[in-house]
Amino acid sequence: MSGPGPVIPSFGQGSSCVTGDHLFCWDWVRQHWSDTLGPALVQHLELTFIAVAIGFALAFPLALLAHRFRLLEQPLGVVSALLYTIPSVALFQFLIPFTGLTTTTVEVALVAYTLVMLFPNIVAGLRSAPPDVLEAAHGMGLTSRQVLWSVELPLAVPAIIGGLRIAVVSTVAIATIAAFVLPKGLGYPIFLALKEPTPFKTEIYSAAFLAVALALCCDAVFVVLRRVLVPWARKGLA
């Protein structure tokens, strides 16, 4: 039995496990689920969902444009890749004077990072229609618009789902950095724990575990979604 440790607010009125900062304390997790971990998980999901939704809303029309006007593909691809290379903390420093310590600041950064995963995948998906299928479609008298909406787009769905899947999973991981700006998301408990003179292990591990679990759950959702939306690829075809 270790003796009473330093009094740290987020440790709460702990058991000996908590006050001794053992490897992992279930009782702390149970005690702080409703005031710390649960809300952080929900916020994290929210940050991720909003980022990917806005990212998709931007990437999709851009991909349609790049598909229609091939010259645009490379510049747009380069821009999305460049955005991805900006370190997030630097991006926050740049944004805070404009948008302050707000969710907007975080979302702008997260959205920027999703583009590099969404844009190229959607474009590749739209390009994936086999030439013979396109020739048959045009030869039967589908207009270019009909070819896009009823042939190219449905055939792009697997690639689009693939892009969304990567975007969601990596945004779940990246969104922990929101804590630099906001007291939100699963990054925040980690951030708090790290601020203590002796970082509280249980808080770090439980938040990190939840982030991993969230990513895995999202991944599973996309696997199911693909099975539902792409019935034709189940047998034989890739």
């Binding site: 086999p130 013979d132 039967m140 008298g141 042939v151 019935p231 075809l237």
Partner: protein, 317 residues
């Protein structure tokens, strides 16, 4: 199911940008309504180009193409294509649609009611030798031969007066190909549409066509006639070489014993017996094999219809 269109190529020329040699050079052809016309020739002969000009997948630079007297330039391109069945070698089925939806593509574009599209799909699948239940399957679940049957059904869906077929059986194994060739001939007799069929295979051309247009390199029409006339009187050395030195035998393959006049048979003739549907080529082959100078021809019930002599075969050429 009896609409058929007359197609006229009127001095049509197509030159691809940056190429000296024309793809199709001053092509003039009249394809009567309901004919099965095969465009055949070596690669570079422009046969696929000629075919694709009819549904305007390829534009032409000079001349005109008319369907039932109407220039295809005067018909909005989407409307034109919906009136023309199109079958290609790679088939091009929509992988994300069921067989039923694939077949119903053009009827849906034309705004047919759902019930009618379903009925039409089922009817066509049976016509091409598939089952109505196959409508719910996806292309990836079918074999190559089955997929091309669907391709054919899809092309026929809106009952177009004209069918364009670009080497439709080129990617199939020989047995499947032969079966589909036979069925396409039967189908053509049943539905009576004009068919333009591209192949590089002279055997296929002779077997399938009422009329054959032989195109040589540079897209020049070398000869346009019935298979029998081309085999009997090749227009020049190119055609003669293309159809092969065994053209006399190929000609015999076009005719069956039921089409020729037979000599009366002696009741006790012991010569080999064959059916009325035997081709003259096979009859000659059998005579050579059995060292007989004649065959006794009988009908399906085994009644003797007459005798066919080897010298009669020579006289028919």
């Amino acid at each position: 199911m009896s609409r058929a269109a007359e197609i006229v190529f009127d001095h049509v020329t197509r030159r691809y940008p940056g190429r000296q040699v024309a793809a199709v050079d001053d092509l003039s052809l009249v394809i009567p309504a309901g004919a099965f016309c095969v465009l055949v020739g070596p690669s570079g002969g422009g046969k696929t180009t000629a075919l694709k000009m009819v549904n305007r997948l390829v534009p032409y630079d000079a001349g005109d193409i008319r369907i039932d007297g109407r220039s295809i330039r005067d018909i909005p391109v989407v409307e034109l294509r919906r009136e023309i069945g199109y079958v290609i070698q790679q088939i091009g089925l929509f992988p994300h649609m069921t067989i039923g939806d694939n077949v119903g593509t053009v009827p849906k574009l034309l705004g047919w009611p759902k019930q009618r599209i379903r009925e039409r799909s089922a009817e066509l699948l049976e016509l091409v030798g598939l089952e109505a239940a196959d409508a719910a399957r996806y292309p990836a679940e079918l074999s190559g031969g089955q997929r091309q049957r669907v391709g054919l059904a899809r092309a026929l869906a809106a009952d177009p007066p004209l069918l364009l077929m670009d080497e439709p059986f080129g990617a199939l194994d020989p047995i499947t190909r032969l079966r589909l060739q036979t069925e396409l001939r039967r189908l053509h007799r049943e539905v009576g549409k004009t068919v333009i069929f591209v192949t590089h295979d002279i055997d296929e051309a002779i077997q399938m066509g009422d009329r054959i247009a032989i195109l040589r390199e540079g897209g020049v029409l070398a000869q346009y006639d019935t298979p029998d006339a081309i085999l009997a009187h090749p227009a020049d050395t190119f055609v003669a070489a293309f159809i092969g030195e065994d053209r006399a035998l190929r000609r015999l393959a076009l005719r069956r014993l039921r089409d020729v006049e037979l000599q009366p048979a002696a009741t006790d003739d012991r010569a080999p017996r064959v059916g009325l549907d035997t081709t003259l080529r096979n009859a000659v082959s059998l005579m050579l094999e059995t060292k007989s100078d004649r065959l006794v021809v009988e009908d399906d019930e085994g009644r003797v219809k007459g005798v066919f002599h080897l010298r009669d075969a020579g006289a028919l050429l």
